[in-house]
């Protein structure tokens, strides 16, 4: 403890007296101050409207201005999104364009908004993966509930769910339009237009399986 040399007992608080703000008659009666505030608002309004109408307005993002507000006119103007911008989810594909997802429910476990609903299904008779692997029969995300925290992406062991579409959840007319089903989620692509992933899954026995290849030994 750095303050061990202090005597025992409650610590003495020393502070600087802050003078109470002077509130003159103008402030007390409120009305003159309101008038001043209104005047400032109107000045900004006229100034900005005129400059906008006469085309004297700077690009507010690149040329931020000292007075006025650094606001851009979305959607006419858009800020470039950073690479790690989290947009609407997508489900990545395998080579055969089936979902990469194995319905492990890690994402729905990690989801703090509980917006992911998955029903697991078993592969049909004759499929080599039947018996031990599974796939999502239903994969539903309620984009209205989603808080876009990205935990689902972090939780996914297969890189099956991603938020790199660069799309906002668009405004819709009704709530059920925000319920994104599996096929819609698989329809989105990443910002580079691909449906794949940077971290492909390797089936056991394939030459690329990390058991052999990971450290190039």
């Amino acid at each position: 403890m750095s303050q061990s040399n202090q005597p025992l007992g409650p610590r003495k608080v020393t502070g600087k007296a802050v003078p109470r703000p002077k509130r003159g008659a103008g402030v007390q009666t409120y009305v003159p101050e309101i008038a001043k505030g209104l005047a400032i608002t109107m000045r900004h309004f006229f100034q900005n409207t005129k400059e906008m109408a006469l085309g004297q307005r700077n690009d507010p993002t690149i040329e931020a201005i000292d007075d006025g507000v650094n606001t851009i006119s979305y959607p006419e103007q858009r800020r470039p999104y950073p690479a790690r911008f989290r947009g609407v989810h997508r489900l990545t594909h395998r080579e055969d364009s089936s979902p990469r997802c194995v319905a492990c429910l890690c994402c729905s476990t990690a989801c703090p908004a509980q917006c992911i609903h998955i029903e697991a299904g078993e592969y049909p008779e004759g499929d080599p993966r039947r018996g031990y692997e599974r796939f999502p029969k239903r994969f539903v995300i309620d984009e209205l509930r989603c808080v876009f925290c990205g935990f689902c992406v972090e939780a996914c062991p297969c890189d099956a769910i991603r938020m790199d579409t660069g799309i906002h959840a668009p405004p819709y007319d009704s709530r059920d339009q925000f319920i994104y089903e599996r096929d819609l989620l698989m329809g989105f692509s990443g910002r580079d237009g691909s449906h794949g992933t940077q971290n492909p899954r390797h089936e056991p026995g394939e030459a690329t399986h990390p058991g052999i290849d990971r450290e190039k030994h």
Binding site: V31, I34, G37, L38, I40, T41, M42, H44, F45, F46, Q47, N48, T49, K50, E51, M52, A53, L54, G55, Q56, R57, N58, D59, P60, T61, I62, E63, A64, I65, D66, D67, G68, V69, N70, T71, I72, S73, P75, E76, Q77, R78, R79, P80, P82, D173, S174, R175
Partner: protein, 596 residues
């Protein structure tokens, strides 16, 4: 034509007009609130609604009216024999000024466009050679001044007559050319564009918004009271709307009445005496002239509370309930103040009828000068009644989601929203009528324009009756819209009160102050009644002086606006925050052309 039936038909028309006025202004306010609120933050605001026109259609829309206008003036000059003989001096003045105006305005518009999109052809280069487009304005103003001076200098001389001939024919030709050239240039410059967007500076947006709310999901919470939940928006919507019925929009319009009891429309263009109102064929420009007048407003404003409280209760949502309770208590509290602040005005005007109040103000001076305290307090109470910032605690999105309309969506939500804006319109109209002279404008009476201070008359100009009424009507609408705009500005400026502050303001500040206002007004009235003739005439002069002040203020405001528009842009100091640096590194904001 039976006069009674005409009057009945006209009453229906008036009611329709008032409703349309309130609703349209409310729609425009909804839009202006967001669009201009955005302008304060230096962005465009909602104007994305657009109707795409095929380029030929847009070109036609630009060129065809121009051809019509360009043809009309030379034709008028050519075929109007009267003009060629007697009135040529005046006509020359008007036509030449018009021509000069169109020339420089067209040039300015094109120059502005060129500056924004770059030089494309030799004409663009020629215009750009002027440098700052503002110079075109200065040149235009100089041309105006020169022609006016020439006209005045050579008045009633042979040179003057010759110049007048040149002014008329040359002016008409130049005017036609300027109009045609402007339209043709516009049509020419869009020839490569696949389509042209019709945006009406964003005015299509409110219409699109209204349409959108109709198609939104109509959500009723499962355990809500379905009937009350649906009926609550109506209850808050309609009282706000029908209040306008008692507010006269203009002076009583006097039709003449012929022997058969039919209307004489020609009387409308006649001059009428300064004093008195016609008894027959009178059309009051208010929907209904109730003798309870303003009390009707209070009664219906009180009904609006029920809608908010019902909505809060019927939604089966705790936030809604809290919002409904807040709305009920707030509106009941401010209802009291609102009534008491107006009592001073009643005492002075001696009537509850809004029409009588306006006539008192037209005769003496505006209410805001005899009841300044009442005006401010009534304004505050009216804003509080409309549940808008800074009194939007029933909504209180930072505390109770969206208050009493948390569980509303689509058109029902829009009706609450709309009711709010209609309340703005009605309270503004009432404020204008009670405190800002209603349809009365300084120095304009039923006979026409008369600038007089006390008994001294400086200028008189008789005006036709219909024109006076229309000017008054426009004045009233202008005042209403200006007050609406002030209310919007308040919304853009002030933060929300805390609930205890709201209640303290209502019960412990405004209420005692309004009682004191009543006391003060009573004493002043007694004072005036006991005063001598000299004091009274002094008062009259003071009243006229206030009107003069209003008139001068209006002129000053217009001059200031023009000067402001001509001011060069501010030099802005630039600095780059990290977001801007990143944006710059990424190639800037993806900039679609802004439709400001």
């Amino acid at each position: 034509m039976n006069l009674d039936w005409v009057m009945v038909a006209l009453s229906g028309l008036k009611a329709f007009a008032v409703v349309m006025f309130a609703m349209n202004v409310a729609v425009l306010l909804t839009w202006a609130d967001r669009r201009q609120g955005a302008a304060i933050q230096d962005r465009v605001g909602p104007n994305r609604a657009v109707i795409w026109l095929p380029t030929p259609l847009a070109q036609g829309l630009a060129v065809l009216p121009a051809i019509a206008v360009a043809a009309a003036l030379p034709a008028y000059v050519k075929f109007n024999a009267e003009l060629r003989e007697s009135e040529i001096g005046g006509a020359s003045l008007v036509i030449s000024q018009l021509a000069i105006f169109f020339v420089w305005f067209t040039a300015l518009a094109i120059a502005g466009k060129v500056r924004n999109r770059g030089i494309r052809n030799s004409f663009d280069a020629f215009l750009a050679g002027f440098g700052d487009p503002r110079r075109i304005v200065y040149v235009g103003f100089a041309a105006h001044a020169v022609t006016l001076a020439l006209g005045a200098f050579f008045r009633n001389t042979s040179t003057g007559d010759a110049l007048a001939q040149v002014g008329v024919y040359g002016g008409a030709a130049v005017f036609s050319f300027a109009v045609l050239f402007g339209a043709g240039y516009a049509a020419y410059s869009i020839r490569h564009e696949p389509r042209v967007g019709l945006r009406l500076i964003g005015l299509l947006h409110p219409a699109a918004d209204g349409l959108k709310t109709l198609f939104k999901e109509d959500f009723i919470p499962p355990k809500a009271d379905r009937f009350l939940h649906s009926v609550a928006p109506l209850i808050s919507f309609f009282p706000a709307l029908v209040v306008l019925g008692v507010v006269p929009f203009g002076d009583t319009l006097c039709f003449g009445v012929d022997e058969q009891g039919g209307l004489l429309l020609s009387e409308l263009m006649a001059f009428v005496p300064k004093e008195g109102v016609c008894t027959e064929g009178a059309l009051p420009l208010g929907v209904i002239d109730l003798n309870v007048g303003v009390l009707y407003f209070f009664a219906l404003a009180g009904t609006g509370i029920v809608g908010a409280a019902l909505a809060g209760w019927a939604s089966d949502n705790k936030y809604s309930l809290l919002g409904g309770l807040r709305a009920a208590s707030q509106m009941v509290s401010y209802e009291v103040t609102m009534g008491l602040t107006l009592i001073g005005a009643f005492m002075i005007y001696g009537s509850l009828r809004v029409d009588a109040m306006i006539r008192w103000q037209a005769e003496n001076t505006w209410g805001v000068f005899v009841q300044p305290l009442g005006f401010v307090m009534f304004f505050a109470a009216a804003v509080a009644e409309s549940k808008r910032i800074p009194f939007d605690l029933p909504e209180g999105e930072s505390e109770i989601v969206a208050g009493y309309y948390t569980e509303y969506a689509g058109m029902k939500f829009a009706m609450f929203f709309f009711a709010e804006y209609i309340a703005v319109v009605t309270s503004s109209a009432l404020l204008a009528a009670i405190f800002l002279g209603g349809w009365h404008l300084p120095f304009i009476n039923r006979a026409g324009l008369e600038i007089a201070i006390g008994d001294a008359v400086y200028f008189t100009q008789q005006l036709p009756h219909a024109l006076v009424v229309v000017i008054g009507l426009l004045g009233f609408i202008l005042k209403t819209i200006a007050l609406c705009w002030v209310q919007l500005t308040i919304r853009w400026t002030l933060p929300r009160f805390r609930y205890d502050q709201l209640m303290r303001l209502g019960w412990r500040k405004l209420l005692p102050a309004s009682l004191a206002n009543i006391l003060l007004t009573g004493m002043l009235i007694l004072l005036v009644q006991g005063a001598g003739a000299k004091f009274l005439s002094g008062l009259e002069i003071a009243a006229d002086l206030t009107m003069l002040a209003v008139a001068l203020l209006g002129i000053y405001a217009v001059v200031q606006l023009v000067l402001f528009l001509l001011k060069p842009p501010r030099k802005r100091r630039l600095y780059a925050p990290s977001a801007a640096q990143f944006a710059a590194a990424m190639g800037g904001t993806r900039n679609a052309r802004m439709q400001a």
